[in-house]
Amino acid sequence: MFKKDATPGAKSKVKSSAQRAIRSKVLDEYPKLEPYIEDIMPKKEQLDLVKLPDRVSLYTLGSTPLFFQHMDDAFMPHLSLVHKYPSAFHRLRIDRGAIRFVLSGATLMVPGLTSAGGRLPNDPEDTEGTYGDEELEAGEVVVIESEGKENACFVGVLKMGTREMKKVKKGQACEAGHYLGDGLWGLNLG
């Protein structure tokens, strides 16, 4: 989505009623953020809405980006937020070989997740339960981590349920996302 460098458009203040709506919607989508929501978007603070190309709107608090949204789709967390609260989102892991493709903006493919280095929910090799035991459906927002790394590198929407992935083991897994080093990441919100 942000392969090209994005230039921030008009910045406007979000009405407090809209701000409340955003807050509740975010909590609906990511219930695990509940304990931290006051740190992320304090009730009293003024959120800003920055318009980006391709009908994406980005919500920021001061100069820290929080969530972005394409038209009226789901709110997706900015990677810097994911890095701060990694356990609040659904996580999957890709193997090492896939990292360089993801970081150059390719669509995430299923084999990167199903191979030995990748992790899906209910993975027998995932002993700590980091990746959850809940199978995810297509359309869910997921955070992609990578093998041997600590921080996440990609945020996207699942194109295929995880159960199906395990069966088919090929095809596209995630679409239209935000990855480390893309236009949204490099955005300067002075």
Binding site: Y36, D39, S80, H83, K84, Y85, P86, S87, D95, R96, G97, I99, R100, L103, S104, G117, E147, G148, K149, E150, N151, C153, L180, G181, W185, G186, G190
Partner: protein, 191 residues
């Protein structure tokens, strides 16, 4: 900032970002400016540098890939590095050749406006600079479009020398030789 490397802990987690490529340091190897990133990390976070760039870590990274994939990855990263280097060289050249023009334009007899062009080549946001000029000199200052395309800052009043000094002083990455003052006599001839 060493706590960034512990995997779990109190939230919000603190993540260190590379000063060169802005990614978390563990992803620097995919960015194309690895060497610079490594130097930066060594200087700023020596403990992290030790962890990420030790022989052991590198070997471990390689062992998970097949030989063929390794080769491909290597080729790819070389290409990326070359690309990044050339892009940087280009930017450098642009910076060396581009000039900042400070024009004094006669608006009316003994009334002048000052136009400043070319600041955007040095990575400055001219809207912000215009605001700063206005604040500094207590005059009207705005960004106007130039007929030939592009934008310039127009400051009210004859301020060419002051702006020259100000630009040279506040923006150290603009070499003084690249700033020029010129006088534009009568923009429009009397009808």
């Amino acid at each position: 900032m060493a706590e960034a490397s512990t995997s779990s802990g109190p939230y919000p987690k603190k993540v260190t970002y590379c000063g060169v490529c802005s990614l978390p340091p563990e992803y620097c190897e995919f960015g194309g400016t690895v060497r610079k990133c490594e130097e930066w990390l060594k200087q700023h976070h020596p403990d992290m540098h030790e962890k990420l760039y030790s022989q052991e870590a590198i070997e471990q990274n390689l062992s998970t890939l097949s030989l063929e994939a390794q080769k491909r990855a290597e080729k790819d990263s070389q290409k990326k590095a070359a690309k990044a280097a050339s892009a940087e060289a280009k930017a450098e050249e642009l910076r060396a050749t581009s000039k900042v023009l400070i024009k004094r334009i006669e608006r009316n007899k003994r009334k002048y406006v000052t136009a400043v062009q070319g600041l955007e080549a040095f990575g400055l946001d001219i809207k912000k600079v215009a605001k700063d000029f206005g604040k500094k000199f207590a005059t009207g200052s705005s960004v106007t479009k130039v007929p030939g395309g592009g934008e310039e800052i127009t400051v009210q009043g004859d301020l060419s020398d002051d702006i020259y000094d100000y630009v040279v002083e506040t923006y150290p990455n603009i070499p003084e030789d690249n700033v020029d003052c010129i006088e534009d006599k009568k923009k429009k001839t009397a009808v």
